[in-house]
């Protein structure tokens, strides 16, 4: 188990894919029979935690507040 190690980028990518599926999709049971947490909460909590764990949440938040209109190329035009 190397959960606490820093993961190579590729593994993080896979993890996000997993979150998109395991936390966001799959059959949800309704009714009183299970303990499963409400789907929406779980998605939110899960993504937030995982992003925080890869140290990107902060950057995402900065981006959301500081940059409303997407990225533009650096002035001067394209390279190559």
């Amino acid at each position: 188990m190397t959960d606490r190690d820093r993961h190579p980028l590729e593994q993080q990518v896979t993890l996000i894919e997993l979150v998109d599926r395991v936390l966001n999709r799959g059959v949800v049971l309704s009714g009183d029979i299970t303990l499963s947490v409400a789907g929406v909460d779980l998605v939110y909590v899960g993504l937030r935690v995982l992003l925080a764990s890869v140290g990107t949440l902060e950057r995402l938040e900065q981006q959301a507040s500081g940059n409303g209109n997407g990225k533009v190329l650096a002035a001067g035009g394209p390279r190559r």
């Binding site: 188990m1 959960d3 606490r4 980028l9 590729e10 993080q12 990518v13 896979t14 993890l15 996000i16 894919e17 997993l18 979150v19 998109d20 599926r21 395991v22 936390l23 966001n24 999709r25 799959g26 059959v27 949800v28 049971l29 309704s30 009714g31 029979i33 299970t34 303990l35 499963s36 947490v37 789907g39 779980l42 909590v45 899960g46 935690v49 995982l50 992003l51 925080a52 764990s53 990107t56 950057r59 995402l60 981006q63 997407g70 990225k71 533009v72 190329l73 002035a75 001067g76 035009g77 394209p78 390279r79 190559r80």
Partner: protein
């Protein structure tokens, strides 16, 4: 804690059953003894009529709602168990069709889990038929903005002129001309992205049973520096290869414009099962 004659350890009210997915009872589902969300208990197949649950016992101290919320804030716990959930299903997927359930679906007792299986058996059997012999593949398309911009000059007179003016200008004027070029790139890219998504999704659907588009992820989340254009999931025949061919054709078609494609999977058909089973 001593267990006698094969009786499971753990007080009845102290453990629940974690449900990973549902398979046909007669499916040749293979289990990996070493993988589950609670290392103390391996995954079992609980057959109930024509269906069987892939489930393992869990400690309710860890998985009841109150404690679960705490656990969800622990990245190491979350990642370990998300991976365990997926690995259990993937292992089974290699030899059987499976209806995947969402992370942390937990029953208080085996009896409740069995009751769910028998009460919702016909719904679940229907879902199982829909995904029988099929798997999910993920397809993403990314665009390299700089390559797209570089190629724009060869395709558009307007872009060529702007680019030349920006290159020839100095100081503040160079900045302004550069900005105008950037704005043109942004506008063209937006138009191009819409085209790519529409054409690609249609092309991929033709090679799949079903398909769906998911939310685009930012570079920070996707782990790629390129911008995501398309995030699709497709239900395909296991081992078919048609979708991979369709992706390769798209990659050739759009390579010049800086677009690349990525295929992931095979996944359990997470995107092709109903969101809810058991609604009253």
């Amino acid at each position: 804690m001593s267990s006698s004659a094969g009786a499971p350890a753990g007080a009845r009210n102290g453990s629940g059953w974690y449900l990973y997915g549902v398979v046909a009872a007669d499916a040749p589902a293979q289990l990996d003894a070493g993988i589950s969300v609670d290392p103390a208990h391996g995954v079992e197949l609980l057959a109930e009529g024509p269906l069987a649950a892939l489930a393992s016992k869990v400690s309710l101290e860890e998985f009841d709602e109150e404690h679960l919320r705490e656990r969800l804030n622990d990245p190491a716990w979350l990642e370990r168990n998300i991976r365990a959930h997926e690995q259990v299903l993937e292992r089974v997927l290699a030899s059987a069709s499976v209806v995947p359930f969402r992370f942390c679906t937990v029953y208080r007792s085996e009896a409740e889990l069995r009751r769910f299986l028998s009460q919702r058996g016909s719904d679940l059997a229907g879902v199982l038929r829909r995904v029988d012999g099929k798997v999910e593949l993920g397809v993403k398309a990314f665009v390299d903005r700089e390559r797209f911009a570089a190629g724009l000059g060869t395709r558009s007179e307007e872009a060529r002129e702007l680019e030349a003016r920006a290159a020839g200008a100095e100081g503040g004027r160079a900045y302004l001309e550069g900005r105008r070029f950037d704005q043109l790139v942004a506008k063209e890219l937006e138009r191009f992205a819409a085209q790519v998504v529409e054409a690609s999704h249609a092309h991929l659907l033709a090679a799949a049973e079903e398909g769906t588009l998911g939310p685009l992820r930012s570079p920070e989340v996707s782990g790629r520096s390129d911008e995501m254009l398309l995030n699709g999931a497709y239900l395909v025949r296991a081992g078919g290869g048609e979708l991979e061919e369709a992706v390769a054709a798209l990659a050739r078609r759009y390579a010049e414009q800086g677009v690349s494609f990525e295929v992931t999977g095979p996944w359990p058909p997470y995107n092709f099962v109903p969101r809810e089973v058991g609604a009253a």
